[in-house]
Structure formats: structure tokens, C-alpha cells
């Protein structure tokens, strides 16, 4: 009886998990399907699911109209640069908070997180003016700095959580063996925290890749990443859903593939410390 109940429970949980997974994935699936339709098929009522004349026309048009590789390269540089720079700054910061806490450490952590509560548009003009003065408008380095800063609270928080799981005694032992602070962080702490650092890297790369407020507002022709590429196919006056879907699919494909191959690390990183 108990065995039957367990089996039923397992089946229900599995079905529920699949339903939730498919619901979450459905918008992406629909975007991919729409990208292979004509504009007429894209707005068909009732919607066409799999049975329509599949076409690559939209991809050809998008490829012809836009320099996809330039947008892609900008996205890689901006997302990659901001993530790496963020990690370089956040590792020592998280180390100090995790292993040498002061009575204000928790306040600092909360204050860092509170910066995420400010609507981005509230600081658009000050940052835009600073970018003009510093000559950073429409540059990749400017976006690397901004995205690094806006993701910094999340990076520090994640690393702080991982570091707290590492016994402080190990670092103490390294110190007793004569390790300098640099050696302690580089050769003792970092190797032990590799899974956590990897998942932090991945999550922040995804966040930076998808960021669409600053990347649209601080770029023009030169540094625009894939978010601007998608925005160029959206229109309130004209039905371009199929082309927009093709552009969106091309923009999310690299990050989707990266996420697919690194899902184990991501899940491990995101649930680290949640269950003891």
C-alpha cells in the first residue's frame, strides 16, 4: 500500500514537474516555431502549432538586413567582460565578508542588495551625462563597467553564500603554513569554491546577456549588443512577428546552448546552501 502510494506520488510529482517545465519553456518554443512561419501564418487564428509550411525566409531576411555577427560579438564582449571583471572584484569582497566579518557586514550586504531596488530609469540621466563626459557613450568598455556594477550585489551575495560553506579552519591552516593573503585566496579558497564561482559566472553572464535597459540606452551604432538587434525588429505599426521571432531566436540561441550544457552547475550553484 505504502509502495503504491509512493509510486503514485512520484508519478504526480513527475507530471507536475513536466507541466511546469513545459509551461516555462512554452514562450521560447512558440518564438522558435513562429520564426519558421510566414507573417500571415504567424498571426493565424486559430494558431498554427506544427502543421504549417516551414520556411527559412525570416532568417534570410534578418541575415540580409542586419549585421548579426557584430551584435553577437558585442554581446560576448560586454557580457563576458562584465562578468569576469565582476568576479575579480567580488571574490576578495566576499572573502572579507565571509571570513573577516565586522559588525557592519550584514548592513553592507543589505545595502548592496538595496541598490537593486532602485528603478534603473531613475539614474539614467546622471549615468548618461557621466558617459558623455567620460567619452564612454556607445562603447563596449562603458557597458562592461555599468553591467559589472549593476550585477555586483548578486555576485557578492552568491560568492558570500558559497564561501560561508567553506570551513574557516582550512584557511587558517594555510595561513599558519605561511600563505600570504593573495596565496590564500588564489590557491586555497578559489579552488575549493570553483563550483560556486562557476555557477556565479554563468548566472551573471546570462543576466548581462539579457540586460536590455542600459544596453539599449547607452549604445547607438558601434557597441549595440543583441538586445538592440531584437529591438530593431519590434514594431507597433506593422506585423513583423515572424521576423521578430527569427531575430529573437538568433539572439537567445547562444545563451540557450550555454545554459543547456551548464545546467548541472547552474542548478548546483543556485541551490547551494539551501538544504543542509
Amino acid at each position: 500500500m505504502a509502495r503504491a502510494t509512493t509510486k503514485t506520488r512520484k508519478a504526480v510529482v513527475t507530471i507536475a514537474a513536466w507541466m511546469i517545465g513545459l509551461t516555462i519553456f512554452f514562450p521560447i518554443l512558440w518564438t522558435i516555431l513562429t520564426s519558421f512561419k510566414t507573417e500571415g501564418q504567424a498571426i493565424n487564428d486559430p494558431p498554427l502549432f506544427f502543421f504549417f509550411d516551414w520556411t527559412l525566409e525570416n532568417y534570410a531576411i534578418v541575415q540580409e538586413r542586419s549585421n548579426y555577427m557584430r551584435f553577437l560579438w558585442n554581446s560576448i564582449i560586454i557580457a563576458g567582460g562584465s562578468t569576469v571583471l565582476g568576479i575579480i572584484i567580488a571574490v576578495p569582497a566576499a572573502w572579507s565578508m565571509a571570513f573577516v566579518p565586522s559588525k557592519r557586514t550584514k548592513d553592507i550586504l543589505l545595502w548592496m542588495l538595496s541598490t537593486k531596488m532602485l528603478p534603473a530609469v531613475g539614474v539614467l540621466y546622471p549615468i548618461y551625462l557621466m558617459f558623455i563626459k567620460l567619452g564612454l557613450l556607445d562603447t563596449r568598455i562603458g557597458l562592461v563597467i555599468v553591467l559589472m556594477l549593476i550585477n555586483m550585489p548578486i555576485i557578492v551575495w552568491m560568492l558570500y553564500t558559497y564561501f560561508r560553506e567553506i570551513p574557516a579552519e582550512i584557511l587558517e591552516a594555510a595561513r599558519m603554513d605561511g600563505a600570504s593573503l593573495r596565496s590564500e585566496i588564489l590557491y586555497v579558497l578559489t579552488p575549493m569554491a570553483i563550483p560556486g564561482i562557476a555557477s556565479t559566472l554563468l548566472l551573471n553572464f546570462i543576466l548581462a546577456w539579457n540586460e536590455a535597459f542600459w544596453t539599449l540606452n547607452l549604445t547607438a551604432a558601434k557597441a549595440a549588443p543583441l538586445t538592440a538587434f531584437i529591438a530593431s525588429y519590434s514594431s507597433p505599426e506593422g506585423l513583423f512577428f515572424a521576423k521578430l521571432s527569427a531575430a529573437s531566436t538568433m539572439a537567445i540561441a547562444p545563451i540557450l546552448i550555454l545554459g543547456w550544457f551548464s545546467q548541472k552547475q547552474l542548478v548546483r550553484g543556485l541551490t547551494f546552501g539551501a538544504v543542509k
Binding site: D138, S234, P236, E237, G238
Partner: protein, 434 residues
């Protein structure tokens, strides 16, 4: 190489260096629509003629508006040319943010621009942006459904006729809605439509002292008429329908009538996308006999931000893109139906263009809208479906949200108007108008 050849080589090299030094790279911000995308495809022609190169930044309309506004107000200099509309141009021109286009060449023939367009893109008589294409709004209707309903569309119908025809054409069993109109919140979506419609009912946004007028009978008549007609003959969920949703419904044969931008005529008559392409008729936007019709006026135009280092090249581009030569080039390569409409008088005098089915109605619609005299009672603002003041976009977005909530049945029309009146007066007081 003798001395003469060497001298020639040096001369040619210097000439090339000189022309290269004068060749600029222009960064142009523009919207994503068919005409603008077509123009991007002809950029090589401009480069071949002038030596200047062009980089395009294409964005969705609302994103573009926010992006170029940020740049021009901070003198960011990210763009050399901006695509802007009739709303922004007079405000930016007044603030000195745009280069006046008062020295365009004689060949450009600035007098050929339709007066309604040049009037809406000027401040105190000076042109600040050149129209690439212009549009008004008109009725697009199904000739077969109208005939089946036993009615005949007049060239200039009244709203009463439209309501009756909509009811007669509605066939819920076959998913045919008599009329499809914008109800979606947003000053450029449902807000634009209801403002243009209110003009024909004798309503206005402000009296001459900038007091809100939503507590008047004219506004109540406008909103009640719209809501009643759409509830009886419109599509389900019309409160969230904008241009694209209605275009989709019309193209699939689910609308008897659609009143919207004249630019939509080329979409609904295109057999590639529209299932009803061969049975579409056109008429002027309706009125109530008070002297104003319910059509709007809009133009996408090219302006140069003040302070650009490439003013001369930017003017060359504007002359190329909005001149008659461009129209002729597009007509030759893609046909007259694909040229940018609504900007130049000479286009409508062209015998070839007269064969385009929606050409005359587009021109008539544009000519019947006057941004300087859009309301029955006097008003202090310029604009047909908007008031050209900086505060309007924010206020109208909130007002249209209240209206959409009434269409969706979340509040009554009276409540929506009451809230609109209060929030508009508050905003105008805060801005120092009252």
C-alpha cells in the same frame, strides 16, 4: 615614371585624400517600419552620390522615442540624424534642440512639401524636420460585407452611419466584427484614436486657459458612443487591441470596418498577407456634422540635433531621403504603391501615382486634418491627436489607461472621465500651466 606622371599621381592622391577627409559617417536613429527599412536598403545610392557612409540604429517606436529624447536633452551627440514625429518636432524646435532646415537647396523644392506636413513640423514658421512620409487615418472597409448588409459607404460618412453599418455587418457566428478600433492604453495607441474621434464630437483636451475638459458633455458623448458601439459590434477584448491586433483581425477577414492609419492601406490590400485584399474599400474618417472629422495627422520626419559636427552631410542625407529623386528611384525599382506617401504635393499630381487605389483617399484625409485648428471650440494647443506640449505624452498615457479600464468594464465611463479630469488638472497645475 616621368615628372608629369608623378605630378598627376600626386594630384589624384591629394584629390582622393581631400574627398576622403570630407566624407562623413552618419549615425541615423530610425523606427522599424516598412518605408524606413526600404530606405536603409538604398543607402548605397546615397553613398555613391555623396561619399558619406551611413550607420543605422533601428529601434521600436517607443524605445526610439526614449532613446533620442535622452540623447538630445543631454546633448549626447550619439546621432547625427533622428527620426522624429509631429509631436516632438515643434517642442524640440522651440527649445533650440534641432538645426533649422531653412537653407535646403533650391533643387530640394521645400515648397513641394504638403502644407499640413510642413505646418506640423515647424515652429514659428521654420521647418525643423523634413517629412519622410506622412499619414492620416481613414476608414478601411469590406466592400463585400457592406454590400451583403444592404448598405453603401458614403465617401464621407457620419458616426451614426458607421454604428449602423457596424451592427449590420456583425456576424458573431462567423466571427465577423462590424468594426475594429484601437482601445489599447497608450497615448500613441488608443489615446491617439479617441482624441482624434473626440475632435469630431466637439470635444477638446483643454480650454484656452489650459483647464482639462473631460467633465464636458462632448467627452461623455465621445466615450459613450465609442464604448457602446464597440461593445455591440467590436471584437472581444477590444480594450487591449492596438494597430497590430486590428490589422491581424482585418487581414483574416474578421472586421467589417477598421478606422486607422492610412499606411495600413498597403498592408490590407497586399494579397500576400491579407485574405481580403481584393474586397477593401476606403472612405474618409467619420464626423458628426460639427465641422471636424475624426482623422489624425502624423509624419515620420528626419531632424538634425543641434550641435552635430556633421550638419552639412546630414542635410545632404535629408535632401536625398525626402526629396523627389528618392521617390522616383523607389517607384522605378519597386513600383508606385511602395513609395513613401503623404509628404509631397508633386506625388499626388503624378499620373502614375493616381492609379494607386488608396492614393486619393490618403491625400484627402491628410488635407482634411489641420494641426493648427483641430477642435470645434478654440484650444490653446497645436496637434490633432495630441497637444504639442512636453507634458502631453505622460498625461495622455494615464488618461488612456483610465479609458481602457472603462472599455474593459473595470469602471464606468463616467468614472473614467472623472479620473481623467482630476489627473490632467493636477498634472497641468504641477507643470505651471494653471
Amino acid at each position: 615614371m616621368n615628372f608629369k606622371q608623378a605630378l598627376t599621381a600626386v594630384g589624384v592622391a591629394s584629390l582622393m585624400a581631400t574627398s576622403a577627409a570630407h566624407a562623413d559617417n552618419l549615425v541615423i536613429a530610425t523606427v522599424n517600419n516598412g518605408d524606413m527599412i526600404r530606405m536603409q536598403g538604398y543607402t548605397d545610392d546615397f553613398t555613391a552620390k555623396t561619399g558619406h557612409t551611413v550607420e543605422w540604429v533601428t529601434l521600436e517606436e517607443n524605445v526610439l522615442r526614449q532613446r533620442v529624447t535622452t540623447d538630445i536633452t543631454t546633448k549626447g551627440g550619439a546621432f547625427d540624424i533622428m527620426t522624429i514625429g509631429m509631436y516632438e518636432t515643434p517642442i524640440w524646435g522651440k527649445n533650440g534642440w534641432l538645426v533649422p532646415l531653412d537653407d535646403l537647396s533650391a533643387d530640394y523644392n521645400v515648397d513641394d512639401i504638403l502644407p499640413a506636413m510642413s505646418g506640423g513640423l515647424s515652429y514659428e514658421g521654420t521647418l525643423y524636420a523634413a517629412p519622410f512620409y506622412g499619414e492620416s487615418s481613414m476608414i478601411m472597409f469590406r466592400t463585400d460585407l457592406m454590400e451583403a448588409a444592404g448598405m453603401e459607404m458614403p465617401e464621407a460618412p457620419t458616426w451614426d452611419f458607421i454604428a449602423k453599418a457596424a451592427a449590420a455587418m456583425t456576424d458573431r457566428d462567423n466571427e465577423i466584427n462590424g468594426i475594429c478600433l484601437r482601445g489599447k492604453a497608450g497615448w500613441g495607441e488608443g489615446g491617439a484614436f479617441i482624441t482624434a474621434m473626440s475632435n469630431s464630437f466637439g470635444a477638446r483636451w483643454f480650454d484656452e486657459d489650459w483647464n482639462a475638459q473631460f467633465d464636458t458633455e462632448e467627452w461623455a458623448n465621445t466615450l459613450n458612443f465609442f464604448n457602446d458601439m464597440m461593445s455591440a459590434s467590436g471584437p472581444a477584448g477590444f480594450a487591449t487591441n492596438g494597430f497590430n491586433e486590428n490589422l491581424s483581425l482585418f487581414q483574416q477577414g474578421k472586421c467589417g470596418m477598421w478606422i486607422d492609419a492610412t499606411v495600413a492601406a498597403s498592408f490590407v490590400t497586399n494579397p500576400k498577407d491579407s485574405t481580403v485584399a481584393d474586397s477593401v474599400g476606403f472612405a474618409l474618417a467619420p464626423d458628426t456634422g460639427m465641422g471636424k472629422r475624426s482623422n489624425w495627422l502624423w509624419a515620420w520626419a528626419l531632424g538634425i540635433p543641434a550641435g552635430t559636427q556633421k550638419e552639412a552631410a546630414a542635410k545632404q542625407f535629408i535632401e536625398w531621403a525626402t526629396g523627389t529623386g528618392y521617390i522616383e528611384m523607389v517607384a522605378e525599382k519597386e513600383g508606385w504603391a511602395n513609395v513613401p506617401p503623404g509628404a509631397r504635393t508633386s506625388l499626388y499630381e503624378n499620373e502614375n501615382y493616381k492609379d494607386v487605389p488608396f492614393a486619393k483617399m490618403t491625400l484627402d484625409s491628410i488635407l482634411s486634418a489641420d494641426p493648427n485648428d483641430s477642435t470645434v471650440k478654440p484650444s490653446p494647443y497645436v496637434g490633432v491627436q495630441f497637444a504639442a506640449i512636453p507634458e502631453f505624452a505622460g498625461i495622455a498615457t494615464e488618461v488612456s489607461q483610465e479609458f481602457s479600464a472603462a472599455y474593459a468594464g473595470q469602471q464606468t465611463v463616467a468614472e473614467a472621465l472623472e479620473k481623467a479630469q482630476a489627473l490632467t488638472n493636477d498634472a497641468m497645475e504641477a507643470a505651471g500651466y494653471r
